[in-house]
Symmetry: C2
Subunit: 336 residues, 2 copies
């Protein structure tokens, strides 16, 4: 553990480096508030911090920059007041006070809000629809053999799934299968669909039975896994790094949305709100940090909110923004 002065010095280095992206020398640190000692003393402490792995020196006669361990200490021990700037708090408030009836648009807009607040890329993973109840389930014939199963959930989300019938089916048969499936599914949660037994789906016409069972089978398979991801502010990534190769790599990761979801969940599973550099666990994101928070609806985790930026990130502000947005989002979701 670091004594108070060393912690203050580390804090000063991190804050300064976040601001300027330049190695920080002992001079400016000595002038920082909370460090009322001479630059020589700062230097002595800096060598200690360096040998303890909190700071690094790009080369002799350059200032210090924080290591991952340094950022980690900063995040764990130094970041205190989780408070948004007044104007930011206001834009969050106005955002959530607007009516958002369509879940999906709201989540997409939320990424925009977050990336505007933080100037980093923002990720929102939508609530898994397992908890929402099924308000409507309908089979619609598209062609003689292809049927679309459309599920409307209580949160306004629509799941759809293509069902290919084994043989040609008539409009009439589709309608009957639709009614049959609906009778079993309505009111259940998306997850509850798994409990619909094939035996419950029976009709005098075997073709109808078959179609109904197949529809439920397809929906069973899908509904649990489909995570809805929204990513916004990719352009901020370009602004945050100065090597175009890094930007390209990071964007390539962001394009693989399933990877991003897994990444966020991994971080949360490890009990972290912040993953720094290699902690993120994806090699091309070694220069990136991630700040995440679960979205809680009625005490249940129902989604994730996060931002992705350079390790040289304004953690204080990002953590505040993510915390506030995830909380407000949870509230809004539990109301609507």
């Amino acid at each position: 553990m670091l004594d108070e002065r060393k912690a203050n010095i580390l804090r000063a280095v991190v804050e300064q480096y976040i601001e300027t992206a330049q190695p920080v020398g002992s001079g400016v640190v000595a002038d920082a508030p909370g460090v009322q000692v001479s630059s020589a003393t700062v230097r002595n402490d800096m060598v200690a911090l360096e040998s303890d792995g909190y700071l690094a020196q790009p080369h002799t006669s350059a200032g210090r920059i924080p290591t991952e361990k340094g950022y980690r200490f900063f995040v764990d021990n130094v970041v205190d007041e989780v408070r948004l700037a007044r104007s930011d708090a206001k834009s969050v408030r106005t955002f959530f006070s607007q009516a958002h009836v369509e879940l999906e648009r709201m989540l997409a807009d939320t990424t925009r809000l977050l990336s505007n607040l933080t100037h980093y890329a923002a990720v929102v993973v939508g609530p898994s629809h397992e908890e929402a109840t099924i308000r409507s389930l309908q089979l619609v014939a598209l062609t003689d053999r292809i049927v679309l199963a459309v599920v409307v959930l209580s949160n306004g989300v629509i799941e759809k799934q293509v069902v290919e019938a084994g043989a040609d089916v008539s409009e009439q048969q589709v309608a009957e299968a639709s009614a049959l499936v609906a009778s079993q599914a309505l009111g259940r949660t998306g997850d509850g669909l798994r409990q619909v037994a094939d035996e419950a789906l029976r009709h005098t016409d075997p073709a109808v039975t078959a179609l109904a069972r197949q529809a439920v089978g397809t929906l069973r398979g899908e509904s649990a896994e489909a995570e809805h991801v929204y990513i916004g502010g990719a352009a901020e990534i370009a602004a945050a790094f100065d090597a175009v190769a890094t930007v390209s790599e990071v964007l390539r990761i962001l394009e693989q949305q399933y990877l991003v979801v897994r990444l966020l969940n991994d971080v949360l599973d490890r009990g972290l709100n912040v993953a720094i550099g290699t902690e993120v666990g994806v090699e091309p994101l070694a220069d990136c940090s991630v700040v995440v928070a679960p979205v809680e609806v009625d005490g249940q985790t129902a989604g994730t909110v996060g931002v992705l930026g350079p390790t040289r990130m304004n953690y204080q502000q990002a953590m505040a923004a993510v915390a506030v947005v995830s909380k407000r989002l949870g509230q809004t979701l539990s109301e609507g």
Copy 2:
């Protein structure tokens, strides 16, 4: 108009510059196939090409680079054989031979295909749903006052629209309004919904009438405007430019999807397949070019396919890829 040798020289410069991104000197041009003259002659022609505005010189004693006018000439007069590389043609074929029943996923995947082929960002604007017929229209109550209108179109696309009822409505009322609207809308095109007169929607219960009319009204307003855009390969933008500021600007444009749609349509409206630099008409995209093609289904335009890359783009390949993909996409859409 340029004589043949000048055209060949211009061609050589453009092709070389596309490949190397370096100013092209008279020496390499003289060695190019189709230019069997000495470098001195090439130089003489180059000054002519420069004073005609086809080439530019970053500084004396540097080679030449093409201007927008130079690229334009190249695209209009030089690009001839629109042919994909064998392996690329194959991946297009396998892509479209796979079953794609869900339109939206297919379009999203198409952007991935195109950006893989060209290594530029790809844009696909989905078919406006005006031509597809309505297979199902259903009102689903989410809360006492909020009703979701769900429209399933014959191409498998689902449109949804939130309808807020003026007063609380019962499940029964929603069901009746749903049947009422469906009876009028089924079989019409999405556009044809506009022709449903309010008078045709009448029910003994005035609340049902009101809800039905409001639902149709909301759907009327929306269905025409909602363009579905898919953008893929944003990471390629980062690889294509070496100034991180440019990358950031371009990505910022791509994030505004409505702007991208308008941009592509503008280009097509001007009767162009290729827009080069300032021709694109968006100031931050001055270093970008766009290659577009309409997607035709049964002779009707039903979407757009395009790529966006640096002005220093491989037009030949990009044009070929866009042409093939748009054609195959049109075929696939008219089948399914």
